[in-house]
């Protein structure tokens, strides 16, 4: 027996509502992130991630309320990402019940933010979220993988493999690796990208982007992921947490 592979549903939340369509017939209000979180907890999710997609300051209090109400009833780790810019943002999310925070764009703009957060709260609270894609054109990075922002719309020119290594040195506790090439395709995880990042860092990797069916998950683990994250396929009821765990177990890995 060894450490279980973590299966993590991700909820995109906008102004207190789940954005991507959700199809659970047994839920009274499928757009309520708190109710959906509780349903995933019952299904056996190992962690939960909330992504505050707008993260405007006017909606910040709404997210704090969602996190607080969720933490009242689910007793598994909860990560909240989106719009985290300062250690004070981290502090307010931890105080209302988050266990970890996802940091993305703000760390690209100011890498020292990673060490400021890690020094104050410990590395284990900091999940560095990396939206990466292949850039083979004239301006390609050394590794061919580039960090993007704005959901893949904006190029940064930063080499993704250099960035994950740098983030680990600065104190990130975990990498949430989202392949912008695979995201939304439902053709499976970006195994090449997972392998490349695995060879750079020795902190845990959460693979994200591209899952379309239960059998897509084990190859991501074989490629080096410690945890797997998905949104749409869970929300649309295409597969359950249990079915994903069955597929992972059948491939010879431990699950909870």
């Amino acid at each position: 027996m060894s450490l279980a592979v973590r299966v993590i549903p991700c909820l995109d939340v906008d102004a207190g509502r789940v954005v991507k369509g959700v199809h659970f017939e047994n839920l009274r209000d499928a757009g309520d992130p708190v109710e959906l979180a509780a349903e995933y907890y019952r299904q056996g999710a190992d962690e939960l991630t909330f992504l505050d997609v707008t993260a405007s300051s006017s909606h910040r209090q709404t997210m704090v309320d969602v996190v607080s109400r969720t933490a009242e009833q689910i007793f598994i780790p909860l990560t909240v990402g989106g719009g985290v810019r300062t250690p004070e943002d981290v502090d307010s999310l931890l105080r209302c019940g988050a266990d970890k925070v996802g940091v993305n764009t703000a760390a690209i703009n100011d890498p020292a933010l990673i060490s400021r957060i890690a020094d104050r709260f410990g590395s284990q609270v900091l999940v560095l979220s990396v939206d990466a894609r292949r850039e083979r054109g004239e301006r390609h990075t050394e590794s061919g993988f580039e960090v993007t922002t704005m959901g893949g719309r904006k190029s940064t020119g930063i080499d993704a493999l250099w960035w994950v290594k740098r983030a680990e040195e600065l104190g990130a506790g975990e990498i949430l690796l989202n392949s912008m090439d695979a995201d939304g395709t439902q053709d499976g995880f970006d195994l090449e990208m997972i392998r490349a990042v695995r060879s750079e860092v020795s902190i845990p990797i959460i693979a994200s982007g591209g899952a379309g069916k239960a059998d897509d998950f084990p190859p991501a683990i074989a490629a080096g992921a410690d945890a797997v994250l998905a949104a749409s396929i869970f929300h649309y009821g295409k597969v359950t947490i249990g079915e994903v765990k069955d597929a992972i177990r059948a491939a010879g890995y431990d699950v909870r």
Binding site: L3, A4, D46, P77, G97, G122, G173, S202, D226
Partner: protein, 229 residues
Amino acid sequence: MTAVTVFDYGFGNVRSMVRALANLGLDVTLTSDYRTSLEADGLVVPGVGAFGACMTGLKAVGGDRVILDRLRAGRPVLGVCVGQQIMFDAGHEHGVETAGLGLIGGDVVRLDAPVVPHMGWDTVDAPEGSVLLRGVEDERFYFVHSYAAADVVPKAAIDYDGSSFELAPLPTVNDAHDGPAPEKVTWCTYGNSTFVAAYERGPLFATQFHPEKSARAGAKLLQNWVDVL
């Protein structure tokens, strides 16, 4: 109603622990007040972050005195995560050694594994007669840490305030012995490291994992602890 204090010294996601205990129907107080912490039926000492910072923070609000005064009086204490680590003799982080409370013999060192932190749900190896793990010996618990106690060195007495005392058996635990309470150590193996996942000796209880984040298995473990208060 059983009263439990969660010791508030600025380290750890204390809200999660308060909620998990409240969910068991306990009267939970979050405070660093000496008298409240001393008089509660049980005291939980959470802890997240660096060993040295936690020790400094704990001492700054008199937490070391609360813990030792409770244990000397045979009143139960439960340390969680770094709250377990600081019960040991010393911690070693980034090449710096920091003295712990010295309640358990041994040092806290960095984990030796291909991927660190050790993050996620893992199995444990519980000893016969464990109070904490009773009924959940085969469950997984949520860990998140880069350091742990790799060994337990037998310790007869605890030096405190110029004198010494022994951890006496809890009257509420059936296998009471004469003399000092026996140690019960639950182990976990990750990578090349085998380390202390949970520790029990008389009124002193501790876990490296987070019962408050370990779903139903964690709730059962906390209930097991509450049952001996």
